[in-house]
Each structure stands twice: as structure tokens, then as C-alpha cells.
Amino acid sequence: MTSQDVDPSFAPLMAQFFREQSPPERVSAAEQRDLDESLWAQVTEMGLPLIGVDEALGGSGGTIGELLVVLAAAGRACAPVPLAETAAASWALARTGARVSGDLLTVVPGDPRDTLTVTDGVANGVVHDVPWARVATCAVTVLTTDHGPVLVAIPLESASVRTGYDLARQPKDRVSIDAVRVGVSPWPGASDELMARLTLLRGALMAGALEEVADLTRQYVGERVQFGRPVGRFQAVQEHVVRLEQQATLALLAVNRAAAATEVNPSALEVKLMKLITNEGARLAVRAAHQAHGAIGMTQEYRLQLLTRRLNSWLGEVGTSADLAEAIGAAATEHGIARLITSSAGTMEQA
């Protein structure tokens, strides 16, 4: 079951919720704090981060399709809460059979500088760029051991966190772990399935933000008058509007196709294809939207920057274009491009 099968009334409902509860002023205010606790309380009360996790394990039930609808709506509204991270980490814990709590969780995204090791249930090392670590109770990651992949759950109260920020001033912290006892459970899948899940959820946030950027820009150029007519009548501005619509459309379609593929194979190559398409779409869209907006888009008073700063952050995290292009290229050189793109969802082999 994918987003295609979600009850049609759910998306408008979620869109309205986030539009109302995460207005631009609230997003801007949250940037000066670590977390909008009140909004987080609302979304956890509604069980949103636990959609896609079995009710028997404490989850909210529901499908990945529904979860993606929530994230796209959250992305549109730049909701300043760790929905994707908590949802991915909770899903991972549930996959190992653990009950989920609704706590604020996060995922170690993986960085070449990371030095994490786990021996006999005790972890040491440093992990980088962990989103929301300072306010999370636990960070999870999948490590490969001699006995296969394991899910490691690091209690963050025992770790030392150095604060950092992404371009939207969302927490992205360095976590130092010094002889901390961690949870270790056998991971019942391929080691990259957790990253694939997080990537998919990030992609949905980005697709939502891209749609909002396209809508906002189209509305702006229809209203802004220069030289006696709406700027949207100028061919050069039309080019920007078309570019934005294209990239928003490609991104959302890619997210939904990747979601369908993960139903067949949880670490399907389509997740990488989706993130690369969405990264490149974000890059083009940020440029086009700002160019169409002129100087007003550069001010914090206007909400375009809430969206473009997030897109600029997300395109450099949880799968960069360079890494993704390399991995996809390896598969393409092995299987050929035509065969790869015409194969059915979830059946492509990674090289």
C-alpha cells in the first residue's frame, strides 16, 4: 500500500493542520530555540511520528503512504519538529520487535568522520551531524558486525552533545560517546534499510517544501507588478515558474514511486534515485524561486527563505548528490540505463 491508496481526505486534513499550527511566525520563533515543544506535543499526541509502526508495538498503525502525506504537509509548512527522525528511529526499533514509546528519537545519519564502535554492548566514538540530538532521548544506527547487522540504540543522556546547526538553524549536533552502554538488537534486514527509510522521509519533506515554493512563487509573480504588469507575464519569469512546477512534480512523483518500491525491497535503488532527483530539484528550485522573487525573497520577513534554507540544508544531508550519483552510476554501468529504468518497482539490483 502506498500513498496512492491513502484516504483522499487525509492529505487536506494534514495540510490544514500544519498550515494552522506551523505558521511562518512560529517557524521563525522556533529557530531561536532548540525545539517547539508545544508543536511537538501536538504531533506526538496525534501519534503522527508513529504512523507506519504496528499498533501492537505501541505505534499508530497506518501505512508508509500516510506517513509520507504527513511529512509532505510538514515540509510545506517547515514544521520545526523532528518528525522524520523520530518516525524512522521508531520504525527501526519496532522492526527489531521493541515497543516504541513516542519519545523524541533520532538517527545517526553516517558521516566519513564518524568513529563509533560497539564492543560487548558498550559504545565509544564520535558521530557527526546528528539531527536534533540535543533534545532526543536516543539515537539509533545500524552497524555491521561479524554476526550480521545490528541496530544500536544510544541513550543520549549519557553522551556529550556539541551543538551545531543546519542552514535553517535546525539542530545538527556532534555526539561524543565515551563508554556508554547501548542497546544492541539483531537487525532483520539489509544494513542500509534504516538509511533508506530516513531518506524516504526526508524526500517527502523536501517534496512538500518544493510544492510550497512553487505555489508561493506562482502566487507572488501573479501579484507583483513591475513595469505596469504582473511580473509573471514576462517570459524570463515564466521560465522560473515552469522550472519550479517541474521540479515539485518530479520530486513528489519520485517520493511516491520510491515508497512503492520499498514495499517490495526496503532498500530499493529507487530511494537513491528519488533523493538525487529531489536534491537536484531543490538546487534548481531555490535559484529559480529567489530570482523570480527579487530582493523581497532575501528577507527574513518573507517566508520564502524558511523553505529555501531548509531545502538547501536537506539537499546536503542524508544522501548527497555526489554519493548518490556514484552509486546509481555503478548500477547503470552494470545493468544498462534502459533496463534499469524500465524495470518494475523494487526489482533493480544495486551494483
Partner: protein, 376 residues
């Protein structure tokens, strides 16, 4: 704008498999002139063979020899053909647009006379649209069809008519009154009529498929008017609109891309592999778009804005691909090379500028999309 994610059904996957097996046998490597997408070689026998399999005129009604199949099924067949650069030119226009246009707007007699031949691969169509002073601006067309007893007398010149020299029929747009938009009418013109002279205009790569059509007092009987007199503008626009979202808009270079990516010119280095990854991702995205648009057509929708949106980016992408592959090829390819893929890359360098012109320039497409979005 929203496109629903969709995938092939089991029966569609079976069709894909059938087509692959057929092509592996019918077009073994080295046995045919590999082409650039829809401008592949013209091979009437190959077209008849496809027709015999039921893979032409697939969406035409069965009572006129068509397959009564879906737009998605046609896409499945077409993408396999284009992936190997199959010789599709003979039947291309008839299968893609003239057949559906005649099925939608033709008289019972026209459908009976022409659709079976399109579905069997016997007939070859060409489009008589542009004129020397009318490229993108069709409302300024001047070639005139004047009423005479029993039909029409045509005088004027059409240019840039691909494949007219080999075609059996030309689907042409003539001026039948002075009203800019409502004074245009579509006609089905037999290729060998008296007074019609077809002269090749050598194309940039030296090929001679691009033609000029000179009409001198050509008589066309009434029964060859397609649709309503004066409705040609709308019929023509509809004909162009839906086909813009097809896989042919981004698969022109696919045979070369695959040869390159699979190491036909040697293994790819790191930079080339990353470029292949970027290209693959975009192809995957465009394939999703084409498939989604085909499903919309099958569900009775008219995704014309979506199709224009897709073509605008797809044709620019195809041109980017030519530049990328050429850069990795490392030297200027030779059109006369013994290596068919080198020669094809050379041809692609020369002809790729036309990809963002044919079927509506990117500028025209942007205008269609922005108007569509403003009304949405």
C-alpha cells in the same frame, strides 16, 4: 500539478518481455542501422513485422484493424523500440499521431480506408504544417485550399516536413478562410497527387528526410477533409498536445547512452560513472512522468499541460546528455566512422538542436504551461 505514481501491471510486464524477446531476435546487434529515437532508420518491412505482431496502431479501435489497447501498452512497446534505436521512421508519425487523429476526427470511410494500413505498417504518414514564414506561429499559415467543385484546390509551400519523400500520406493543415485561428482545416493528402512536388532539404547531418512540399493547383477531393472545415487549429493542437509527454521526448540518445554506460567505449572512470548516475536518475524520473501521463490518458483525462511541462525539460535534458557523453568520449566523433555508435554520437551532436524545436519550442511550451498554471 500532481502525477500519480504507477507501475506496470503483470500483463504489461508480459508484453514488455514479449517485445524484448522479439527485438533480440529480429534486430540482433549489427543487423540494422541504430537510430536516434524517433528519427531511426526507415524500414517498411520492420514496420510491417511490428504491425503483424499487433504493435502498431495499438490504441486504434479493433473494428478498423487497431489493437484496442491502452496508451500504457503502447508506451511499453515504444520504449523498447527506442531503447535499441530500432528503425521506426516509416510508421512513426502514423502510429503516434495521424492514426489517433483520424480515429478521433475522421469519417467512417476515412477510418476504414486508412486505419487498417496504419495498424499493419503499410502506410507512412508525414505532417505538412510549417511554412517558410510560419514556424511556431501556426496562425500565420498561408498555404491556401480554395473551394472548387467536388473538393479543394491547394497552392503554397510547406517546409520542414520530415519523411515526406517516403510517405504514402501527408496530414496537412491549410488555410480555408482568412480567420487566423478558425480559418484552418486539416486534409489527408495522398503523396502522389498531381501538382505536389516533394523536394528534400538537406539536413544539418547531410540526411535528406527533411522536405519541402510545393503545392501547385493540387486538387483534393472533399472526402479528404479531416474533421470539420475550419476546425484544423483545434485538431492540430490536440494532436500535438498529448504526444508531448511520450517517451520519445527523452529517449533520442538512449541507444548511445546505453552503449557508453555499459562500457562499449571502455570502462567509465569515476567522473563518468557519476554522470551516468545523474543521467539515469533523470531518465528514471522522466519515465515515471511518461508512464503517469499515459495512465491519465487511459483513464480518460487530457494531461496536455503535464505533457508540455514534461517535454520542455525532457528535450533540454536530451541535449545535455549529448554534451556529457561527447565530453567523456574525449574527441570529436566522426560521422563516417566504422563504429556505428561513434557515428551516431556525431549525428546526435549535429541534430540535437532540433530536439528542443520539433513539437513546439521550449519557449512555446513554457507559455503553454504558465498559462495552464495561471488558470489552475
Amino acid at each position: 500539478m500532481h502525477l500519480d505514481a504507477t507501475d506496470l501491471s503483470e500483463s504489461e510486464i508480459r508484453l514488455q518481455q514479449e517485445v524484448r524477446e522479439f527485438l533480440a531476435e529480429r534486430l540482433p546487434p549489427g543487423s540494422y542501422d541504430v537510430g536516434l529515437g524517433m528519427t531511426g532508420a526507415s524500414d517498411p518491412q520492420f514496420s510491417r513485422d511490428l504491425g503483424a505482431r499487433g504493435w502498431l496502431g495499438m490504441s486504434l479501435p479493433p473494428e478498423y484493424g487497431g489493437g484496442g489497447r491502452t496508451a500504457v501498452e503502447r508506451l511499453v512497446v515504444v520504449e523498447e523500440l527506442l531503447a535499441v534505436g530500432a528503425p521506426v521512421a516509416y510508421h512513426w508519425i502514423g502510429d503516434r499521431q495521424s492514426g489517433p487523429n483520424i480515429a478521433a476526427n475522421g469519417t467512417e470511410e476515412q477510418k476504414r480506408a486508412l486505419l487498417p494500413g496504419i495498424a499493419s505498417g503499410e502506410l507512412s504518414f508525414s505532417i505538412g504544417m510549417s511554412e517558410p514564414d510560419s514556424g511556431s506561429d501556426l496562425a500565420s499559415l498561408r498555404t491556401r485550399a480554395e473551394r472548387v467543385p467536388g473538393g479543394w484546390r491547394v497552392n503554397g509551400t510547406k517546409i520542414w516536413t520530415t519523411g515526406a519523400a517516403q510517405a504514402t500520406h501527408i496530414l496537412a493543415l491549410f488555410r480555408t478562410s482568412d480567420d487566423r485561428h478558425h480559418g484552418l482545416t486539416q486534409f489527408i493528402v495522398e503523396r502522389d497527387l498531381d501538382g505536389l512536388t516533394v523536394s528534400p532539404i538537406p539536413f544539418i547531418d547531410g540526411t535528406r528526410e527533411f522536405c519541402e512540399l510545393a503545392f501547385e493547383d493540387v486538387f483534393i477531393p472533399d472526402e479528404m477533409v479531416l474533421g470539420e472545415v475550419g476546425a484544423g487549429w483545434g485538431q492540430n493542437t490536440a494532436e500535438l498536445a498529448l504526444e508531448r509527454g511520450g517517451v520519445d521526448r527523452w529517449m533520442s540518445l538512449m541507444a548511445v547512452l546505453d552503449h557508453w554506460a555499459r562500457g562499449g567505449w571502455g570502462p567509465l572512470g569515476a567522473a563518468a560513472t557519476a554522470d551516468a548516475g545523474q543521467i539515469t536518475a533523470r531518465c528514471w524520473a522522466f519515465r515515471g512522468v511518461s508512464l503517469a501521463i499515459a495512465r491519465m490518458v487511459d483513464s480518460g483525462k487530457s494531461p496536455s499541460i503535464e505533457a508540455a511541462l514534461a517535454k520542455e525539460m525532457a528535450t533540454r535534458f536530451e541535449q545535455d546528455c549529448v554534451e556529457i557523453v561527447t565530453r567523456h568520449y574525449g574527441r570529436t566523433p566522426d560521422l563516417t566512422s566504422d563504429d556505428p555508435y561513434e557515428s551516431l554520437l556525431a549525428r546526435a551532436i549535429l541534430v540535437s538542436p532540433s530536439w528542443s524545436i520539433r513539437g513546439g519550442t521550449v519557449e512555446i511550451l513554457r507559455n503553454i504551461v504558465s498559462k495552464g498554471l495561471a488558470q489552475a
